[in-house]
């Protein structure tokens, strides 16, 4: 199966469609015995029809909690404590749960990382897809069955009539992830959230799944929120990219700008520390010293300051805010703050 060249067509053009889903000032904390863990702190995101927003960051940076918050799937002791999730003029963060149930899996759906744990092992794949459709649409009997077969075929499952009756354990990891994607797109969602959709898969299978997600995005005009730690996947898939660090977005730009000229020292460090197929093998790799801060004891100033190679006095005390700089991108760093720093690069 050669990569479909049309899979990357018109949706990628840089025209800005109207926002479909907007996250504004989202704050989610976990109230543990040891104190409040600010997993997501004042996050803004905008998803547009037919486009892919990449959310990238390392483990524990809050990218998954962001997606769970959008879906209102955060469990106690976690709680959304502020902000809005605006979808079609409605704030999903405050609608009653029955309303949310209609949205979830219907107009907004989600793919999780591990295809084995997001499928029920004792139910057939076909039954699980049918369950989603029944929840949101008035279909039953032969019509429902036909719809499931159609969805299975659209995600590239060979012999969908047979696979309808297969249990998850009978399928390979790549096939299982296709089933999970089939469940997610069964009701033609407007927004698809994919949280590390290919992390558990091998590279040749990852390439298949990414091609499938691209094709589905194009065909259905969905907005895709792609959450991953893999900068390569971001570079292949995203139109815009938000970089998260310790619960905050530190840089936001379109994918070309971000990879060509990253500005936040964390983004720069992340891109430099990645071995690529062209890295000089004799040179040591760039490494970001230290580790991600404990979210219970965050530094009082910039959260990246303890690991930053260009830290200044102000960074220790004053948290920087995400602001637009000359080329239209957003960055949260005192280096680009005209008042704080007289020595702008």
């Amino acid at each position: 199966m050669p990569a479909d060249p049309s899979a990357d067509g018109p949706g990628r053009q840089r025209g800005r469609s109207a926002p479909l889903l907007a996250v504004r000032g989202l704050r989610t904390s976990f109230f543990t015995r040891d104190g409040e863990v600010k997993a997501v702190d004042n996050v803004d995101l905008t998803l547009r029809r037919g486009q892919t927003l990449g959310l990238v960051g390392e483990s524990g940076c809050g990218k998954s909690v962001t997606s769970l918050s959008i879906m209102r799937l955060v469990r106690p002791p976690g709680r959304i404590i502020g902000g809005q999730v605006l979808f079609d003029g409605v704030d999903l963060a405050s609608v009653p749960e029955p309303e949310m149930r209609k949205v979830r899996g219907g107009r907004i759906s989600m793919i999780f990382q591990e295809p084995m744990t997001s499928l029920n092992p004792v139910l057939t794949c076909g039954f699980q897809i049918a369950e989603v459709i029944r929840e949101h649409q008035h279909l039953a009997g032969a019509a429902l069955h036909a719809r499931v077969i159609e969805v299975l075929r659209s995600v590239g499952i060979p012999q969908p009539d047979r696979r309808y009756h297969a249990y998850p354990h009978e399928l390979s990891g790549g096939m299982r992830q296709r089933i999970v994607i089939a469940m997610a797109i069964a009701c033609d969602p407007d927004v698809l959230i994919a949280d590390e959709p290919t992390t558990a898969l091998d590279v040749t299978i990852q390439a298949q799944i990414l091609a499938l997600l691209k094709a589905q995005r194009e065909r259905r005009g969905m907005a895709l929120l792609l959450i991953t730690h893999d900068l390569g996947v971001i570079a292949e898939m995203a139109d815009d990219v938000a970089v998260m660090y310790a619960g905050e977005i530190v840089e936001f730009a379109d994918v070309m700008t971000l990879f060509r000229s990253p500005r936040h020292p964390y983004t720069i460090g992340l891109l430099n520390s990645l071995p690529t197929l062209t890295t000089q093998r004799t040179q040591p790799l760039h490494a970001i010293p230290g580790t991600v801060p404990n979210l219970l004891r965050l530094p009082s100033g910039c959260r990246f300051a303890p690991r930053c190679s260009r830290v200044m006095a102000i960074c220790q005390d004053v948290p920087p805010v995400l602001r637009q700089i000359d080329d239209g991108r957003l960055v949260s760093c005192h280096l680009y703050d005209p008042i704080a720093s007289p020595v702008v690069v």
């Binding site: 199966m1 390392e58 390439a207 893999d230 520390s273 990645l274 890295t279 580790t291």
Partner: protein, 337 residues
């Protein structure tokens, strides 16, 4: 088999026609109903002070190969020569000596450390088992190796759960190196780590190799990581070694269709390339190693397969200096060199 030219001296490790099959039991009598062909007729060498990278997708047998080399499991057949000695023949004190000189670093820094032992006990366990020195000397050696891998020696009193993933991987490295091994099998040592930590550990492994003259067998699925750390790279598919070449040569001039597909499937962290890059997306899944396809095991997914591929298993053939590949199509195209 492999050209010996350009290599420093004798190989420290030579693997000859190694086979590792695991029986599959079934039925009420739990009879053997099949074999998992985890490693099938694999041969290669590693030279002292060098790194051989081993890549392949899950289930291709790369971890089994590493475990077989370390004598954790006994191979079904084939030879493993360490410093010229066949490991199947060694026993007693000599086997114990081998176990000291070949060590392993594991993938998961969370499950590979005993949560109830202190860091000092974990690192020093090998010294205790092999009765190296007095108690004080062992403690001194543990402190020495800890500072070498970038851990503060006073951490010896702490427990693994107090450390981050990167620090734990340093503990795993210290444990592997405490007995002055010659060969270290690194099984996915950075794949559980975040990018910014991964580069710290890769730099550390490279530094240690230079300082201690270590030889690495570096098993990983991330080709960019393998390229960075390896002198030579071997590619495995379904229990078979399908291509081996010096690193630069493999990445510039991959011959086997599977290697080419693997290289093209890696997402490149450069959005400017995504439309221009020719990507080979392989159809289908890796077949089961219980009943591997006849002929070339890759023929079911190979875009270039010809009739002979379905019937005859291709042997590894030499193409240029130190570059071997097992493929009928390559053989037909290149003529026999």
């Amino acid at each position: 088999m492999t050209g010996e030219s350009g290599h420093p001296g004798q190989p420290i490790l030579a693997v000859r026609h190694l086979v590792m099959h695991f029986p599959v039991h079934g039925g009420i009598l739990r009879r053997t109903i099949g074999q998992v062909h985890a490693v099938d007729d694999v041969s290669f060498e590693i030279y002292p002070g060098q790194t051989l990278g081993l890549v392949g997708e899950s289930g291709c047998g790369k971890t089994t190969l590493g475990r077989t080399i370390l004598q954790v499991i006994r191979p079904t057949s084939g030879e493993i020569l360490f410093d010229g000695r066949d490991l199947a023949a060694v026993a007693g004190a000599e086997q114990k000596a081998f176990r000291r000189s070949a060590q392993m670093i594991f993938q998961d820094p969370f499950s590979s450390l005993d949560p109830r032992a202190t860091v000092g006990e974990i690192i020093g366990e090998g010294l205790r088992i092999h009765r190296v020195g007095s108690r004080a000397e062992r403690a001194e050696r543990v402190r020495e190796i800890m500072s070498l891998v970038g851990l503060r020696p006073y951490y010896a009193q702490r427990y693994p759960h107090e450390f981050s993933g990167g620090q734990r991987q340093r503990i795993g490295i210290a444990r592997a190196l405490v007995l002055h091994p010659k060969l270290v099998v690194c099984d996915e040592p950075v794949s559980a780590l975040d990018v910014s930590i991964q580069s710290q550990i890769l730099n550390l492994l490279k530094d240690l190799q230079r300082q201690l003259a270590l030889t690495y067998l570096f098993i990983a699925h991330n080709l960019a990581v393998v390229r960075y750390i390896s002198d030579r790279v071997g590619v495995m598919y379904l229990g078979k070694l399908v291509e081996v070449a010096p690193t630069e040569e493999l990445f510039a001039n991959a011959l086997h269709p599977y290697t080419q597909a693997l290289l093209s499937a890696i997402p490149v962290a450069d959005p400017a390339q995504r439309d221009s890059r020719r990507q080979i997306v392989l159809a289908g899944d890796v077949p089961s190693p219980i009943n591997p396809p006849a002929g070339c095991r890759f023929h079911t997914r190979c875009p270039f397969a010809i009739d002979i591929c379905r019937v005859v298993e291709p042997p590894l053939k030499q193409y240029g200096n130190d570059h071997v590949a097992a493929c009928h199509v390559v053989e037909a195209a290149q003529g026999l060199s």
